[in-house]
Symmetry: C2
Subunit: 283 residues, 2 copies
């Protein structure tokens, strides 16, 4: 029977600490601020954006929403980023995905000042992470939150085999870098990988972030493995399910994150705590 890695509970603890730090910083005249840029009216993006704003408000931070119509030009969006880059009340800037076709994700990302890039997607921050630099820089929130879960539950990484299923810039690549920096032996798989089950069966830690519902079943894991589920997909019955077939692996795994209540709440808690870190580093 697997230990359930309760991301929801851990997120509450982190949010409580963030709240206290926001009070302390605000008393010193440095109220942390986050700006979200949203282009278009995608309902899911609107929902995510609102929930980030609500959380920031609840924790006592400044939160700003810059909303653009679906047909906004890239230069308009980049101009808004340039204004936020020099706005002292804003410590963290994030651009809600997805962007419409006329706007280049990479050009928008590179326009964000690296020291305000709370998503950690700027090449300078990704490069520092991959190069394992000792200085302070932001790191993608989902993988950073996963590392906190591993630490909280004292799951060892040194010399352990980790397999990352999926190589996105949001999750897979920064996750691989963090686990490598934590001295794990890391494998990154792609959609071209053959015999995935054999590869994941060698892993002490599996992080799956493909969005393919119930991809990881019990024959994909070795007994006692830690299984982290970053996927989320709506199945044919309209139910949200993860990459991992939770019920199927529950008896075989050593530890597992539930969906919901696992990685999700940790991502937003990390977004908020990293905004506070950016505010501290800037002063």
């Amino acid at each position: 029977m697997a230990t359930i890695l309760n991301g929801k509970e851990l997120a509450k603890k982190i949010n409580q600490k963030t709240k206290e730090e926001v009070v302390a910083l605000t008393n010193r005249g440095v109220k942390p601020g986050i700006a979200v840029i949203l282009v278009g009216e995608d309902p899911a993006s609107l929902m995510y954006t609102r929930s980030k704003q609500r959380k920031a408000d609840k924790l006592g931070m400044t939160s700003v929403l810059k909303k653009f119509p679906m047909d906004a030009s890239q230069s308009e969006v980049i101009e808004a980023i340039h204004e936020l880059n020099v706005d002292d009340s804003i410590n963290a800037i994030l651009v809600q995905a997805p962007l419409p076709k006329q706007i280049s994700q990479s050009e928008v990302t590179e326009a964000i000042a690296p020291q305000k890039d709370v998503d950690g997607f700027h090449p300078e921050n990704l490069g520092r992470l991959y190069g394992n630099e000792a200085s302070n820089y932001p790191v993608a929130c989902t993988p950073k939150g996963i590392m906190r879960i591993l630490k909280e539950y004292q799951i060892p990484t040194v010399g352990k085999r980790a397999v990352i299923v999926g190589r996105s810039i949001l999750v897979g690549k920064p996750m691989a870098a963090l686990l490598l920096n934590a001295d794990a032996t890391v494998t990154i798989t792609t959609s071209h990988t053959t015999n995935l089950a054999k590869i994941t069966s060698d892993a002490d830690i599996i992080v799956s972030a493909t969005g393919i519902g119930h991809l990881i079943k019990s024959d994909y894991i070795k007994p006692g493995a830690t299984v982290i589920d970053v996927g989320i997909e709506q199945n044919s019955e309209g139910k949200l399910i993860g990459d991992v077939d939770y019920d199927d692996i529950f008896d075989k795994a050593g530890a597992i994150t539930p969906v919901p209540g696992g990685v999700g709440p940790m991502t937003i808690a990390t977004l908020m705590s990293q905004t506070v870190e950016l505010a501290k580093w800037s002063h």
Copy 2:
């Protein structure tokens, strides 16, 4: 019997092409230029630096050496870099490793303008590589040279398993990124990895860059594997040997780089051709 991956021959072809491109660029008034910064009197570093300069001269490029005494301060070195950053006759800047203790490798690397960072070590360039960006940016020369060897010998990467032994910023990390970008399933091992032979035995492509002489023996590889040897070490008899026990694996491997004459000549050929690319991109 393994195919011998003749880096020396391929490097000759690349150098010939570089030479022609240098002539063409020089005729257009853009003579490519490379600057090497050397701190101290380490004999090996002196030898490497001289061989780079000789090669640059031979190919018709401008080459500049900035030499500092062993006790030079970090700010002196960074000042020289700042001057080279704005010098239009210089397209490529590299700092010869190792640096003395009083100088921070990462601060010196970050001082180099990313568009002149011919070693590809600047976090912005490493991040672009790891993020698989489509724009033009320099990439570490040894792994870039290895990708050219794989291409020349039509060794497939898509869906293949690659194992990188060693996680340096010079070789292991950029190598992993390049192979991942070429759709391989990539594993990076570290000095903490246990049961290395089992892991490398799963690989279609092994790149070893540890400096541990004859680490990779025939029980470390599967039949037909491609084995790339980046290591170089002086054994007790004073002979230079690679990470790979060439004679031991020769009958089992599918393809193998010799030491010397494999990866080494490709690194310097790539350094030169990348200097030409930087010159082109800047104009």
